[in-house]
Amino acid sequence: MNFLNDMRFRAFCYQIGAIGLVVAVAWTMFATASDNLAKQNIATGFGFLARQAGFVISETAITYQPTDSIARAILVGIVNTVKVSLLAAILGTVLGLFVGVARMSRNPLLARLALAYVEVLRNVPLLLYLFLWYSLIIMVFPPVKQALNILPGVYLSNSGLVLPAIFVENGAAIFALFICAGLAAAILIRRISQQRRLTTGKPNHGTVIACLALVLPPLVLWMLGLVSFGWDIPQAGRFRLTGGLHVRPEFVALLFGLLLSVSASIAEIVRAGIQAIGPGQWEAAAALGLHRSRVMRLVVLPQALRLIIPPLTNTYLTVFKNSSLAIAIGYPDLVMVSNTVMNQTGQAIETIAIFMGVYLSLSIAISLTMNWYNARVALKVR
């Protein structure tokens, strides 16, 4: 028999051919590009990353000075991107869950309201919402000089929300250690109590004890005087408030835009998940005498979760990628920092390669995490 007629061998050859073609095309493109760049005396390579950045970034979650390197500036952008997408994903999931359940409510007003919410948010491009939220913040709230003093030390203006910041004056290390220890103890206690509940079938006070374990160690530490806190109270400067914690309007507008849009998608996913659970489950739970809200919480939602996870992964990826719209309203995310770097160094190809690489690897990380979680909660065939 001729091995050319072997299906497996032929499939193998096609695959090798396809990979070879991709590699050859990529290599030709790379070689031509670098050849052309060299011919035109255009600087190439990633050496510029070590140069001094020289520009200020208004919102930094890690310490950063204009004298730091360009690589550090890009890192600040990455952290900002992750910060806003993570918060939007978490808050959006919680909100979306409620809206999705409300969509299934037997109360017509609530169900219609949830429907309107979903449709209004889903059917307008996110970019327009970002412009809308940002303009609203800028136009509705007064300039910083006439900031609304809503609580002592809390100011609201079109330059954002300023809060008094709390910081650990001394004993930061031991304080962090006790918090970690408390967290570990709480998780352990909760696990043991659940195990016991499964074996005995009787409710116990595991959750309360776990909460105590979480709160008590730092509290005791503070009462013993081993750790002390200070307040950073905002002060009126000549132009704006200095000190305290600043929540900037660019961040708020982006967070709201992302979280509202993600909550609308998640509401639909949740609704689909709930509807996919057979009516038999509802009836069986009702026959056991469970109230409708408990049927939802204890019987339907846990089963719906399995169906919800895969589309949820897609939604999270979308939030993460959509956060790049930040550039339109002045939030210094990865794309905005990269743009400044691109302008400054003129090395567009390298800079774009970096930010595409970052988006790609973080997206893959999100997918892998969600797939792992999906595998964990998936229906086990025994």
Partner: protein, 338 residues
């Protein structure tokens, strides 16, 4: 951003697609029958289409002067609006023949971006504009203020440097779109807005009440705006440079769009050489000998360009300042035509 990104991709593709011609831009332009010139998207006074769709502005007229030098016709030209992020790629990839887009000549651009700058056509500097009601008279008082700006190369860096020298901090708010930038400033999100002084003048011109705003006296950077061409084509660079110098020299010699025909009879040997009455200057550049006449006839001299697009009678209302002729206390100085 999307647009900018697409443009970058397009530029990258162009870089990848084929080897770019190194020399002979003049031949390529002549063969094509028109000059392709990269300008701003829409900056009143520098490059913006008028109500008939014709590109108007100082930068646009600089392009026209080169088209006139090559073809004797300032309308054999195609304007390509370029994004601030991709302007250099557009030039490098051969998408445009020259870039005339309020671009600052700097060392690193000239040394590492594969381009050559022509003469400075506008001496600019970065400034700051604030609302009069703020009661500020110097940029040095702006410590802790918020400053709105565009993600320009030098803008953000100059501000950082300036506030570092005065030992103050500031909040930088960067917008991708000029409209958002202006709107945020006018709504009071920032105390100050920073850009080149010429650009601040055009921002002020669109305010509801321009008199409510003042440009502070400090100039925190030098921004010599110059047109640029691809590197390694000195003939093409010469054509661009000397077309610009022709505009400047014409003002110095008193040649205007209106009197250029009479000037053909001028006894001044400089003028005779410039307008191609004697000598063969045009041929040395590979151009028609009447190139100088064509340039002035098409767009006028440097002073006329300035007054028409940027001067005190326009919405921008700029004074000549450093852009006056060298013999009138300015920096505009054309080398001799001989």
């Amino acid at each position: 951003m999307k647009q900018g990104f697409l443009a970058i991709c397009a530029a990258a593709t162009a870089l990848l697609a084929a080897s770019v011609a190194q020399a002979g831009t003049l031949d390529a332009v002549k063969a094509r029958g028109k000059l392709v010139c990269g300008v701003s998207l829409a900056t009143p006074g520098f490059a913006a289409p008028d109500d008939k769709g014709r590109m108007q502005g100082f930068d646009a007229d600089v392009c026209r002067s080169v088209a006139a030098a090559v073809f004797g016709d300032g309308d054999k030209i195609e304007f390509v609006p370029t994004n601030i992020n991709t302007r250099f790629q557009a030039l490098q990839s051969g998408e445009i023949d020259m870039l005339s887009r309020q671009t600052t000549q700097t060392f690193s651009r000239e040394a590492s971006l594969g381009l050559d700058f022509g003469p400075t056509v506008f001496y600019d500097g970065q400034g700051l504009m604030v609302a009069k009601s703020l009661g500020v008279s110097s940029a040095k008082e702006l410590t802790d203020a918020a400053v709105c700006t565009l993600p320009g190369t030098t803008t953000a860096q100059n501000l950082s440097d300036f506030f570092r020298t005065i030992g103050g901090k500031f909040e930088l708010v960067v917008f991708e779109s000029p409209d958002e930038n202006r709107a945020a400033f006018f709504a009071g999100r920032c105390e100050a807005i920073s850009s080149d002084r010429s650009d601040l003048a055009s921002i002020r011109a669109v305010a509801n009440n321009p008199d409510d705003y003042i440009v502070l006296p400090e100039t925190i950077s030098k921004e010599p705006l110059a047109p640029a061409v691809r590197q390694n084509d000195s003939n093409w660079r010469d054509i661009m440079s000397w077309s610009v110098w022709m505009l400047m020299a014409a003002e110095e010699k008193g040649i205007t769009q209106a009197n250029v025909d009479e000037m053909l009879k001028s006894p001044d040997p400089d003028i005779q050489r410039m307008l191609g009455v004697t000598d063969e200057l045009g041929a040395m550049l590979g151009l028609d000998n009447k190139w100088g006449y064509n340039v002035i006839k098409t767009v006028g001299n440097y002073g006329e360009l300035f007054e028409r697009n940027l001067g005190e009678k326009t919405r921008l209302g700029l004074t000549r300042g450093p852009n006056a002729q060298w013999n009138a206390g300015g920096l505009v100085y054309a080398p001799p035509f001989r």
